[in-house]
Every structure is written in C-alpha cells, then in structure tokens.
Symmetry: C2
Subunit: 353 residues, 2 copies
C-alpha cells in the first residue's frame, strides 16, 4: 500500500524482515536438531503461514481451537493447541482430531477424566508443566501429581502421552541476554528433572517442548529439548527490544497512524490510533509505561526506534505521543507516523481484521 493511500491506522508488515526472522529461527532449530513448531498466535494469518512453509515448517502451535481450525482449513496437518484444553469445546476439538494430527495440553486429573469419557478419537497429549512462570501447568516440583497424571493418561487407550511442555514466560520479566539464558537453563533443567523421574517410573518416551521468544532468540544450543515453539519473533516488537531478544532493525511490524493534532505547548502530537488499534498492552521504558514508540522508516523497514518519542496515552481511538522538537517541527496535521507497538501479538490481533 502506498503511503498516500493510507487513511486509517494500518498494520505495516516488513515481509523481508519477517522472512529473515523466520529463516534465522528455522536455521537455528535445524542446526540444533530440534523440531521447530512455531506459534502462530502472533500473526494468525494463512498468508504469513506460507512464509513459514517456505522455510520447511510443517508443524505449528496455536492457542485456541478457533486458530487450530483456521489453520487446518488452510492445509496445516500437525497442530498443537498450547492452551489448557477447554472442555466446552470438546466436540469441535474431537472433530478436528479426526482430520489432523492434534496435540492438546492437560494439567489436571479432572481434565484427563473428561477426555477419557467424552473423547474417542486419538489425540496426542502433553502435560503442561509450570517451570516458574506461575500461570498454567502443574508446578515442576509436584512430581507425585505429574506421575499420577502421566499414568492416568497412559490408561486411556485413545490418548497418547507425548511429553512435557512448558512456556517459560517469566523470560519476559528479565532484561539482557545473560538473564534470559539463565531463565532458559533453569526452566530446561526443571523439565529434564521431571523427565528423569518419569523415565525412572518406566515411561518410555517423554519429549520436552519449550518455547518463548526471548529464550529461543538468544539461546543457540537446544540440545536439551525436542521441540521449540516461539511465536512473537516473526515480527518482534518494542517489548522484545527492551528485553534484549532482538535489535531494533529486526522488528518487522509498525502501525501507520494519521496525525490529527499537534500541541507544541505540551510537546505532544495526537494520532488517530488508539487502544482498539495498538491494544493497551504496555512496556516499561525509562521508568514509564508506554504503548509504543514512533519509528523512523525507510519504506516498510525501521531505521530507528525513537525512544524519545513514546506513546504515553491511549484512549479508544486517540493516541498521545510525547515528541522532541525535531519531530514536532517536522510534522503537520494529516501526516502519517509509524508506531512500533509495545506488543505485536496484541496489536496485530486488533488490526488484522
């Protein structure tokens, strides 16, 4: 789309950079000998899925039945729904399992019992393990509970216990490569210790699946796991640059927004681009919560993220950007500015429709 044709807040994807991000991660996985099962919740797009196919990707991750059905309808045959299985969608999930290789997650005995009673189709099941993030999953040190769940799964003939899956989302809380690698090592060691317990109990194959973008971006040696599932890396975002997962130039997404107001007295501009476009997800930047930053562009490519021009406020449709004088003086009402969102998964979800 030509800049002059943009009338409203518009998602701008740098395809060349996104393809480079995909290739880099696919190469890393190939070199490490692990399965690459990228998470498609970030882009939720069959078109972008093709860019992954072009790198030899055939197995994917999603975070809802709806996404799984969408990608199954677009020719993907090996999908893990990396979300605690929603018992209210069992009929639809079962139908999907009759069409494709479907993997699901459980973390409670009640859920396994429901799968036993209400499901008859073969399904691969992962035990979701909490290695420190504290959201979903059985806590890694609850080994008795994990053994019982694995046994319970093994007793159901149509369920195949596949292994242990974690999302070390606490990597989002640290900053810098060294700290991220420490999260990865700790999380992976915890998964491995659980696997050792299960192997000692007589379970034959217990795969390990991990995958958050910060860890997968900075770690090169995945010898300890069988599968990685990063997602956000396809576009990255302001949050990932702050964590230390990527450089500014690797960010492949911006949102083009019309300038609708200029307030020199407050060093602020007002854009058409609010919470319904950028989402209200935020990241800390020099002690302040910001929703994104203005970027200097060369076509669709980011030259510089202007951290001195943060999005400091978002209403439903308005955005407020605090800008230094060089930007203030160069802009007019009706111009376009390009915003690097705090969190690309959320902004893309807002704007893709």
């Amino acid at each position: 789309m030509k800049e002059n044709d943009i009338q409203r807040p518009t998602l701008i994807i740098n395809e060349e950079q996104a393809r480079a991000n995909i290739k880099r991660m696919a190469d890393k996985a190939r070199n490490a000998g692990v399965r690459f099962r990228p998470h498609f919740k970030t882009h939720q797009s069959a078109l972008v899925g093709q860019w992954f196919k072009d790198q030899g990707v055939s197995s994917i991750t999603v975070s809802s039945y709806s996404m799984a059905a969408y990608f199954a309808d677009h020719g993907w045959n090996d999908i893990t729904i990396a979300f605690p299985i929603n018992l209210r969608e069992l009929d639809a999930i079962q139908e999907l399992a009759s069409r494709i290789e479907l993997g699901v997650l459980v973390d409670s005995s009640a859920t396994v019992s429901a799968l036993e009673k209400q499901i008859s189709r073969p399904m691969r099941v992962w035990l979701k393990i909490d290695t420190g993030y504290g959201r979903s999953g059985v806590h890694w040190d609850q080994t008795e509970q994990i053994i019982q769940l694995a046994r319970q799964l093994n007793e159901v003939s149509h369920l195949t216990f596949r292994g242990l899956l974690t999302h070390a989302g606490h990597s989002y809380h640290v900053r810098g490569s060294e700290a991220i690698q420490a999260v990865y090592r700790e999380s992976t060691q915890r998964l491995q210790s659980v696997r050792t317990v299960l192997l000692d109990e007589g379970f034959r194959t217990v795969e390990l699946s991990t995958g958050d973008t910060p860890c997968c971006s900075v770690v090169d040696d995945f010898a300890d796991v069988d599968e990685i599932r990063p997602g956000n890396f396809v576009y990255y975002d302001l949050m990932q640059t702050q964590i230390g997962s990527c450089s500014d130039g690797q960010v492949a997404v911006t949102v083009a927004c019309p300038v609708v107001g200029i307030h020199p007295d407050r060093s602020e501009i007002i854009i058409y681009g609010g919470g319904v476009h950028l989402s209200k997800d935020s990241v800390e930047l020099e002690g302040h919560r910001v929703y994104g930053c203005l970027a200097e562009m060369d076509g669709n490519a980011i030259i510089t993220i202007r951290r001195d021009a943060p999005v400091t406020g978002l209403s439903q449709e308005h955005g407020v950007i605090h800008v230094p004088s060089d930007i203030l003086n160069s802009l007019q009402v009706g111009d376009l500015v390009y915003i690097v969102p705090a969190h690309s998964c959320m902004a893309v979800n807002c704007l893709r429709r």
Copy 2:
C-alpha cells in the same frame, strides 16, 4: 444464548438493564431541555442503536468516520464525529456529508484551511475545547486562538460554526459524586467563559456540547449546556463503579469465560479469556491494577461484583483470577465464570465481531 451453549469467551449484554440506563439518561436530558446525542462508540451496534431510537433518540455521536458510515447505513441521519477530523479521510467524509447532517471537530487553523480547500459540501463544525483533560482541543484559556479559529470558520461559506465541544475526560481520574460534579462545574464554566468571549466578539449562536459518562451520570441540571454526549453509560463497567458513576446493579455487560485451570495452592483460577477478549485496559482496585472482577449472576443480571475475585493477569488468551476459598471450592474445570470488564468500550470492541 443458554449457558450450556457457551463455548468460548462471550459478550453477555443485559438488555433490560441497558434499556433502563438509556431511558434514565434520555429522561434526564429531556427534563433538562438539552439535546441528547449519545456516543455510540461503546456498543457500535445497529441493534443497540434501536434501543436508543425507542427512547426517541435521533442524533448521535461517534469517534471515527468508519463508525459514522456504519450508522448512516443503518438509517441515522444526524451524526457528530467527535474526533479531530482526519484529513486523510476527507473524500469519504465529504461523501458522507452529502447524505446526512454531519458534524465534525477542528482544533487548528491548518485543519480549517484544509477543509476550506478540499471540502465543498455543507458541514457543521465544532471547535474542540480542552477544558482540563489535556488530550485534544484548543486550551480554553487560549481565547485569541479560539476567536481566530471561529472567524476563520465563518469565512468559509460551506462550513457552519456550530459551537464549542468538550470532553471532560479528567472526570475519570476522580472518585465520588462530589468530585465528579466539581469537574463538571469547572469544565462547564470554562466553556461558558469562552462562549461569552465569542458572543462579545459578535458571534450570534454558540452552542455548548459536553459529555462524559461520569459527569452525565451524576449531574441532573444541564441548564448550562445545549447538548450532552455520554456513551459508556449504556453498559457501564467496573471502572465506572469505582469512579462512582453507577451502582453495581446498573452494569449491563459481562464476559462469560470457561474455566480451564484451578490452582488451589495459589488461590487462582485460569480462564479462557485474555487480552484479546477483555482488552488490557485496567482500573485500580485497592492499590492494584485489575482487568475486571468476577460477578455473581442471576441470568444476565449482575447480583454482586466480587471485588475479592479480581482478574490480576491477562495474556493473549489466558486470564488469571485471584479467588477466595468459597469461589475456589465451588468451581470445576469446564465451568463458566462471568467477568465484569474494567472498561466496557474496549471489551465490547474486542468481542462484538
């Protein structure tokens, strides 16, 4: 929709309560003798628009050209786009102005010049005045600038200068009826002082338009203005109960979410319902940022908002709710819970599609 049919995060509107909220506000406006021009950005629905028509509403407010076009296509003929006019949509806005009575907002000379050059259709123009919120508009004490803009507008034959419009959004930052009324009085006095200046300068009619939900909810006497434009009041939400705009029982929106995990050790449940459903807008509750609270329901009606069961975390698809033991002990994986969102405009925007 029957509870058993709900599979995924689902917007639940209490029609009876929403209609009561509409009737109450319409009656207040009628009794005060002011035009009721409700903001439709909250519901963005032609169906809900009909509930307003049933109360005699014929003039409405929206916050984008897209919304204006949608409601024009559904038979609304008198619409104000209460957003600084986006010069990149002028062709579409002009086309719309040829079909309906369209009002737009300006707050800069550059914008008026653009309208003069690029627009030929008659259009009503409001000067957007900042009475203290600090987002869009000319600051109320910049009287010279306001006079010049009004004169500039009067010189353009196809533009009709209609009056002064404000959004006293800083009412969202206070708590309690008295503080809200103080914001209303101050904001309205500022608008009136600007009107007095313009009348003294020879302008003949200068209407005043105001309208934020907190002020319009607690003020009864609108004798000082010509028009009110509240929007959020149709559903209200957790934020409005905290501000003091409404009672818990007046909230007409919840989001039904399946329970997918129960973690008694952490007193937490995990729901299928994340930032893409509830939005990541938050409100402060007892010193913490929360994204909503669990509600006890009677059908679609809220009995009690459980402020001791707040949504403390949201990922893309997951929500984390901290729950007391009575709720923890009563729930099973696969149950539904009902969440009052922090901000209904944002949650409805996520879920209406």
